[in-house]
Amino acid sequence: MPAIVQRRELGAGRPVVTYRTAGDRAMLVEYGDAYPVDLAVNFFVHATASHLGTHPVRGLFEIAPGLRSLLIYYDPIVISQEKLIAAMDDHHADIPEPASIVLPSRQLRLPIAFDDSASREAVNRYRITIRPDAPNVVDGNNIDYIVRYNGLANRDALYERILGTTWWNAFSGFYPGLPSLLPLDPRSELIGPKYNPARTWTPEGAVALGGPCLVVHPIESLGSYQIFGRTLPISHLSPRRVRAHRIDPILIHPGDRITFTAISEGELIELRRQVFEGRYDYEIEPGRYAVAEHFAVATEPAVVAEAGRRRAARAAAQQLVKIP
């Protein structure tokens, strides 16, 4: 039995769809080809997920997005794989081409302390207990490695890129509430190779870069992304959670937008204390996001040219940098 069940061209600027069998109770629906991460494809993924949420298909009981895919769980007693594909075909016909998509999307602002002591402690433990000669760890830190790997002049240039764009939550996964963020401004693209082997400890609140994604660690955990700062807690899973998280313990949802504001570590510690004491109100604005806004910036010739120059600089820099 072939893993690929069907492939469909949707046309009109929309991605190709590949239906893949994922056992007898799930199907993986992939969008686009395996080309580099394309935000337009991710917007299409969210538009489809959102449409399925408002136009439910009988027998389909769970939808989990990835960067360019949807994993769909279904009850095969209620709906066959064949009928599920037909239902998805119908849904795809209702999704507009990416530039016309408008999505439910909240905007959140999070403070970040770069090069904080908890991140340094994680890197230092790694150096001592896991891999003393890791090429990405220099002087108990991996930030300079990110700088070199991306062909940047210095740490400030890295921080400017992180602060200078709105980050799009392409999907949540791995651990409960862990967002995988991509920059809406292509000039802020960054790439980070993963640790090899992984760290055994990463502090809660750590912000890290792996592949093209920036993540925030919701819980103390393993980790293989290059770590560069720390923010506030983003998941409060304990039943004794603080007031701000009683209604929704997961702060960042798929399709939310995040901006970061740099603060000192002392300020971050004070804000984290306010969170634990139930005195902190996260900055969250409800709203919608018109994908056209992204394309207006991302297709501007000056932006395209600058993003291209930065990508070329990164490619050149990577030739000179060791992969962990």
């Binding site: 056992g23 991460v37 997920a49 769970e62 304990s238």
Partner: protein, 328 residues
């Protein structure tokens, strides 16, 4: 109603089917690794099949009974006693205040016992389920494995206790050398695996690594040929893909090490899932003994998976239970 004396290796409270509907937020379902023995234990004490019960890996466990009730323990053969006197698995057992329930390490085939109590174990619901998620520290008993002196409450029940027994002919058989049904994909041939790779996957005898648990069962490394050179933008190894949500029971190619995704796995990641174990065969994975058992995979299609599902449903049909008078 139960006071834990010896919690064993890593005994947890689970329910079935676990924490569904939240994978888009990063929650994998949790729940028992062997859903068949788990539900059978509930069936025997008259519970809802998904009610909260204990999962006891390796088999070693001891608890004091604080209130009279009915219990049932299912799973592989082991030395099971109440007050030192042997009792049978796959049967409901009346217990009274002051009794000591004990089971010993499973020596023969199989790996996990399930203990259900009439009424179901009473723990707080966390995100729609009582299943323990050890990694995130939520669900079950305080979000963790049981420890000595923990006291587990039981939901009060007015149901009269009845002696019930699952006929031997319906009980699953355990082995050290498993054959497990699997459905190829989502990332298999022709774009990820070559024909040779698929043939190797389906003919090789895979060994369960000692480092296997509720998160995943690792199999011995093997170098596939792969149908492509690299993972392109996702990474150097051909098993790399742009991050996807993973299916429960997926067989992940983590580089050259295959891992069966357990109920407490991470919910997504950037590796190819070359095959997926159908829901009705997943219980077998819960009985793999880490470091000892072997497994051979047999490819089936969706129609065969549906037949397998019907077969498991038969086992759990309450009409098949033997009954013998009133107990407790």
């Amino acid at each position: 109603m139960l006071e834990i004396v010896d919690p064993g290796l890593q005994t947890t409270v689970q329910d079935y089917p676990g924490r569904l509907g939240r994978q888009s937020l990063g929650f994998f379902p949790c729940g028992p690794v062997d859903h068949l023995a788990f539900r059978a234990a509930n069936l025997l004490v008259g519970n809802r099949l998904g009610a909260a019960a204990l999962e006891i890996p390796l088999g070693r466990f001891q608890a004091n009974v604080l209130h009279a009730g009915t219990i049932a323990i299912t799973g592989p053969e082991t030395h099971l006693t109440v007050n030192g006197k042997p009792v049978s698995l796959w049967e409901s057992v009346p217990v009274k205040e002051g009794d000591v329930v004990a089971s010993s390490v499973i020596r023969g085939p199989g790996y996990r016992l399930y203990l259900a109590v009439a009424g179901g174990i009473e723990v707080r619901d966390a995100f729609g389920s009582r299943a323990t998620h050890i990694v995130a520290g939520i669900g079950g008993f305080d979000g963790r494995a049981l420890e000595r002196a923990d006291v587990l409450d039981v939901v009060a029940t007015n149901e009269p206790a009845r002696r019930k027994r699952l006929p031997v002919s319906l009980r699953p058989t355990y082995s050290n050398n498993w054959e497990v049904e699997t459905i190829m994909g989502p990332h298999a041939d022709p774009d990820f695996l070559t024909n040779n790779d698929v043939e190797h996957f389906l003919t090789a005898t895979w060994r369960c690594d000692l480092n296997s648990d509720r998160v995943g069962v690792r199999l011995n490394p093997h170098r596939f040929q792969w149908a492509r050179e690299t993972g392109d933008v996702a990474g150097g190894h051909p098993s790399n893909v742009l991050d996807n949500s993973y299916p429960l029971g997926g067989i992940l190619a983590y580089g050259d090490v295959l891992t069966i995704l357990g109920p407490e796995s991470n919910s997504s990641g950037g590796f190819a899932v070359i095959a997926t174990i159908p829901e009705a065969a997943l219980w077998k994975v819960g009985q793999f003994r880490p470091g000892r058992d072997t497994v051979v995979f047999r490819a089936i299609d969706l129609a065969q998976a549906a037949a397998l599902h019907d077969h498991v449903a038969q086992v759990l049909d309450t009409r098949h239970l033997d009954r013998s008078g009133n107990g407790g």
